[in-house]
């Protein structure tokens, strides 16, 4: 009594789980930098988000009477990790949990679960949080080890007890206001200075901006987005492992660079230099880990190039002309909408036709 089984009878051994675990592994350097900058807070936030997403996934599967073993495929854990890395370190724990539920329930399971979500769940959840809690989502905790800060950071993040209080009870538990422990990110600073009529170059100068620190990650920002070096290590690992292909990250980053370079050449005082754009904000995290989310990105190589270019144009445009200082998240989500169309029009050429 057996089923009719078609060839092939061999398999390369790849699995969903292996892919998800590889991405989690690739994010470990970034998570490490986050811990270096934000101490115990980063550990708490990452753990909370990963557990929160897995719990939400478990609940949904239970409700929909689907095999509960799917919690173990690693996709929910990865969503949690990605979400944590896009959050500011000083976010209250319950907001992070709201994000977890939004990511798994709203952005993934209501569409039919793994493989059916049109948007990247972590990014969709981040949008929900950004719109619901704009203040908390744009207040960046002053990191340790950031040389552009003359004074010591206002919170000793190596102290487990302080972190514990800050995490669960907010800055008030330490007798401080949110303002006192947070600062602007480089992108936010440039945007604010623009609104005061100050050009980008001048703005970066009065921020004590340094390319090297941005590359290494010693600056303010979301947990996992600051260190270009750590993200590059993870990205190259994924490329070498063939979990992702070069098409989306390369076209995304190159497009941002080219656009920034052209406009910077036209008006170097006003427009930020291209290298700043490459190193700033969530570009690296987005290009290597968010835009390449297989479910919500095109499947064909040509489609992926179009997708990456679209993301790049939108990112630079939002950063330069938009209301928000950072555009990576919105650009990826907007391009996610276009994926069915891209997949339809950019199919490979069929042999002999």
């Amino acid at each position: 009594m057996s089923l009719l089984i078609s060839s092939p009878h061999a398999h390369g051994g790849d699995s969903i789980r292996a892919n998800m675990l590889a991405v989690i592994l690739a994010l470990l350097p970034a998570a490490g930098v986050a811990t270096y900058l934000f101490g115990w807070l980063a550990v708490f936030l990452i753990l909370l988000c990963m557990l929160g997403c897995m719990a939400a996934e478990w609940g949904c599967l239970k409700l929909m009477k689907r095999p509960l073993s799917r919690v173990g495929d690693g996709s929910a854990a990865l969503t949690g990790l990605l979400l944590a890395l896009t959050l500011p370190a000083a976010i209250p724990w319950w907001m992070a949990l709201v994000g977890c539920v939004a990511a798994i329930v709203l952005a993934k399971q209501v569409y039919g679960g793994l493989g059916h979500n049109p948007f990247n769940p972590a990014l969709a959840a981040r949008v929900v949080l950004l719109i619901s809690f704009p203040l908390n989502m744009t207040s960046w905790l002053v990191p340790m080890h950031a040389p552009m800060l003359a004074a010591l950071p206002p919170v000793d993040l190596y102290n487990f007890g302080d972190c514990w209080s800050l995490f669960w009870f907010g800055p008030e538990a330490l007798g401080k206001g949110l303002d006192a422990i947070t600062m602007a990110s480089p992108l936010g600073h440039v945007k604010t200075e623009w609104s005061r009529g100050i050009g980008a170059i001048e703005a970066l100068r009065n921020y004590d901006y340094s390319y090297l620190d941005a590359f290494l990650g010693r600056e303010a920002g979301s947990l996992g987005e600051t260190s270009v070096l750590a993200l590059l290590i993870g990205g190259i690992y994924l490329l070498a492992r063939h979990t992702i292909t070069w098409h989306i990250p390369l076209s995304f980053i190159v497009t941002v660079y080219v656009l920034a370079a052209v406009f910077n050449a036209v008006n170097p005082e006003h427009f930020a230099p291209p290298l700043f754009h490459i190193l700033a904000g969530g570009l690296m995290l987005g290009a290597f880990f968010m835009a390449t989310d297989p479910v919500s990105s095109p499947v064909t190589p040509r489609g992926q190039l179009i997708f990456g270019i679209g993301c790049g144009i939108l990112t630079w445009s939002i950063r330069t002309f938009g209301g928000y200082p950072e555009g990576v998240m919105f650009s990826i989500l907007l391009m996610n909408c276009a994926v069915p169309l891209i997949d339809h029009y950019f199919r490979p050429r069929v042999y002999g036709k």
Binding site: M1, S2, L3, L4, S6
Partner: protein, 197 residues
């Protein structure tokens, strides 16, 4: 006054839009195939009458006229039902009777008295023979409608399963058990009609 303006504006817009739509529906009117023909085209043409109507065209007429349901064609099965429901723009209905394996009529020739009654009954002229001669069924033409079984006065017509030959075999969907593999698992000699044995 403001409310009046709003009502007038919206009403005017609605009026204009309705006029445009009315003109458009005239100008771009699509002359479709008559519904009866389109329904008839998706029916299997067995002319078996299992739907309760004396043939495929009568059933198509009944469906188009709203008298018959979309799920009455037994040999057409789910595919015909879905096609008809799609044409009629109504919700699909469950097909109650399963068509099962394809069948063929078979005349036991030594018992046949040559009365020609089955020939008259066959809707697709698939039975040949003359009065007082044995009749036989042309296998390739038989639709398996069973209409010839009843009229036979000596009851010499059987419905037999249509034998599957290798050339007609197709892959079943993944995960579904194929019909053949369970049968005859242990015997190595396989029988089918076109064999030379």
């Amino acid at each position: 006054m403001n409310i009046l303006m709003a009502i007038l504006t919206l009403g005017g817009l609605a009026l204009i839009a309705s006029i445009v739509l009315a003109i458009a529906s005239r100008v771009f009117h699509v002359e479709g195939d008559p519904m009866i023909e389109r329904i008839d085209a998706v029916l299997p043409q067995t002319q078996c009458g299992q739907c309760g109507y004396p043939g495929c065209v009568p059933y198509a007429t009944a469906v188009a006229g709203g008298e018959a349901d979309v799920n009455q064609c037994v040999p057409g099965g789910e595919r015909a039902m879905l096609a008809i429901a799609d044409l009629m723009g109504v919700a699909p209905k469950e097909v109650e009777e399963d068509a099962g394996v394809p069948m063929l009529a078979f005349v036991r020739e030594d018992e046949c008295i040559g009365c020609t009654l089955c020939i008259k009954a066959c809707p697709v002229d698939a039975i040949i023979g003359a009065p007082k001669q044995y009749h036989t069924v042309i296998e390739d033409h038989c639709t398996g409608c069973t209409l010839c079984v009843e009229p036979c006065p000596v009851d010499c017509i059987d419905m037999v399963e249509k034998t599957q030959v290798l050339e007609e075999w197709t892959w079943s969907a993944p995960g579904k058990r194929p019909a053949l593999e369970n049968a005859n698992q242990n015997s190595d000699e396989v029988k089918h009609a076109s064999g030379t044995a």
